[in-house]
Amino acid sequence: MEPSNRKRESRERWLGLALISPTMVLFLTLVAYPLAASIGFSLFSINTLTLQGRFVGFDNYTRLFGQAAFWTSFQNTLIWTVSAVSLQLLCGIGFALLLHRSFPGRSLARGLVLFPYLLPTAVAILVWQWMFNDLYGIINYGLLSAGLVSKPIAWLSHMPDAMVSIVLVGTWKLFPFVVIAVLARLQTIPEQLYEAARLDGAGVWARFWDITLPQLRGVLVIVVLLRSIWDFKEFDLIYLMTGGGPAIGTQTLPLMVYKEAFPLLNLGRGAAVAVAMLVFMLAFFLLYFRTYGKEEEER
């Protein structure tokens, strides 16, 4: 190789490193360090206020896995995530299909559907708590007036109603994300595919199953992935709605992290729950990517 070429290559290598260094610094301080610190904390028994503690090895984990509350929280997390994501998909696809059709006032409707997603969680939950209130909430009022129930339902202090309530509110709050993603994809499906299908004799349902759904597949894989990650670690909505109650009826793993680390002042145990969450999520997503990644490759 010519010396000038070698010189240029070395200069380009340094330039490349210089260009990625800001990203690397950000990644190390904002992602790698907190992750390593959490894993580190989980091996200690640390008081959250004083940050004083001692190394306990895997004690936090053995204690955790022997605790019924941990497994209940895990189960609650799964129930919440699976139900909320499924309902969001159902409503999201439904609304997207509706908003994809042309009708007067469509632009306004498209804007309005985003409203729950844009509303701050604290505000939304305040309103929903009023609506779910067993004494003066509009939901009980409506059900009583319609004669569907004979006495008010204690929505947020009774199981399984409390779980049903947070799943419903979670769906309402978060489904617009699915609408946006699906609607964007729907607009790129060539109209001629539907026309060809009509000529081939496909009815409305056949066109949905044979054209729309397969075309939405790619975006749905991503939407399910993102919504599962986000809902698995959802904190504020559940915390504000029920605080994990009644008892630990709606306590999910993120609420348990908070409870251990703050009210109970044991940062180590809180960190151990967080690390366990991370492992569950990693296992789920490895499986997910293996299933869909392979199929996508085949396409």
Binding site: P190, Q192, L193, E195, A196, A197, R198, L199, D200, G201, A202, G203, A206, D210, I211, P214, Q215, R217, R299
Partner: protein
């Protein structure tokens, strides 16, 4: 019987555009009819109305004696090939081919057998397990044709199926389509803006302009006896030359502006013009091959010579009017020189300057 009758067909779009107006046409059984015209002339809208993808705002469509306006596209027993092919991207070639049969409840074994047969005929056998995006444009086009053929429909509708292909492939598929039509003998309605495709493939051509039918005829009729100035200018490359002139003598001669000696018409043409008053203004249409360079009494100035190998296009100035002529590439013609020219009087076309209609019908 798969004649297709368009009876005073009309299509208005909600924005007020009249896409097709008072279009009547009988397409014979087994005919290869081309709807030809520039973009926006209404040819694709007409095809889509035949397919059932657009609802006519007036008139009727019949297949044989059966009125089909109210039938869904899937019930009309037609097949359509789209410009973009519209193959289902998530399905394999085999699934694409079998899809129309599946939707019509044909059993799996039968579907497989027919897909295999078609794949053999269209030479796409090795591609059956691939997906459309793994195919070249030509291969996709064959699959699209296969999907149209598999149901053995009464009428085939083809919407500019060759326009996304390169020139070589287009020529090849053009020939294949002609052979296919000869083999299956079904009614085909073909939409194109490419007059070359229309001329080479069609049994008859229907020329459309601004939503109205201008002329229907065999390619030869449309080329040799264009019904009006639009058809004359749209069909043929380079386009027909138009010169101003007037009828002279006893109606047997045409005086072309800038040409000293009037052109004498052959007796049979003159007879057709006799009823037209003398000294009447006309537009004279002359195909490039009907202006002969290097011979005759008239003269013109050469503006430009474009050699094409087997021939040359010569841009001429005849008394201030620009025309294009074809000449043998062996003639030594140079720009800015003067040359003798002659006109093939028997092939001269006359149009009314106001309406653009052909005068000697």
């Amino acid at each position: 019987m798969a004649t297709v009758t368009l009876d005073h067909l009309r299509k208005d779009f909600p924005d007020g555009t009249v896409a097709v107006e008072d279009f009547s046409l009988l397409i014979e059984d087994g005919e290869f009819l081309t709807l030809l015209g520039p973009s926006g002339c209404g040819k694709t809208t007409t095809l889509r109305m035949i397919a059932g993808l657009e609802t006519p705002t007036g008139g009727a469509i019949r297949f044989g004696d059966r009125r089909v306006d109210d039938l869904a596209p899937g019930q009309r027993n037609i097949a359509m090939v789209f410009q973009s092919y519209a193959l289902y991207p998530h399905m394999t070639v085999r699934q694409n081919l079998e899809y129309p049969l599946k939707k019509h409840g044909v059993p799996r074994e039968e579907r497989r057998r027919r897909a295999d047969e078609l794949a053999l005929m269209l030479q796409i056998g090795p591609l059956l397990d691939r997906r459309p995006k793994q195919l070249s444009g030509g291969q996709q086009q064959r699959v699209a044709l296969g999907r149209a053929l598999i149901r053995d429909p009464e009428v085939f509708l083809l919407d500019e199926p060759l326009s996304n292909l390169d020139a070589t492939l287009r020529a090849q598929l053009r020939a294949e389509l002609i052979q296919l039509h000869q083999r299956i003998g079904k009614t085909m309605v073909y939409v194109t803006h490419d007059q070359f495709e229309a001329m080479t493939m069609s049994t008859r051509i229907a020329v459309l302009h601004q939503g109205r039918l201008q002329q229907v005829g065999t390619p030869d009729e449309v080329y040799r006896r264009p019904a009006n100035r639009f058809v004359a200018s749209f069909v043929g490359t380079p386009a027909m030359n138009f010169l101003t002139g007037e009828i002279a003598g006893e109606g047997d001669r045409i005086a072309i502006a800038g040409v000293t000696t009037p052109v004498s018409l052959p007796p049979e043409r003159a007879a057709a013009l006799r009823e037209l008053s003398p000294a009447r203004d006309v537009i004279v249409g002359l195909r490039p091959e009907d202006i002969l360079v290097g011979t005759g009494e008239a003269s013109a100035t050469i503006k430009l010579v474009e050699p094409l190998g087997h021939e040359a296009l010569v841009y001429l100035d005849i008394g201030g009017q620009s025309v294009i002529s074809r000449a043998s590439s062996e003639m030594s013609l140079r720009a800015k020189e003067s040359t003798a020219i002659d006109f093939r009087a028997a092939r001269l076309h006359l149009f009314d300057p106001a309406s653009g209609r052909r005068l000697d019908c």
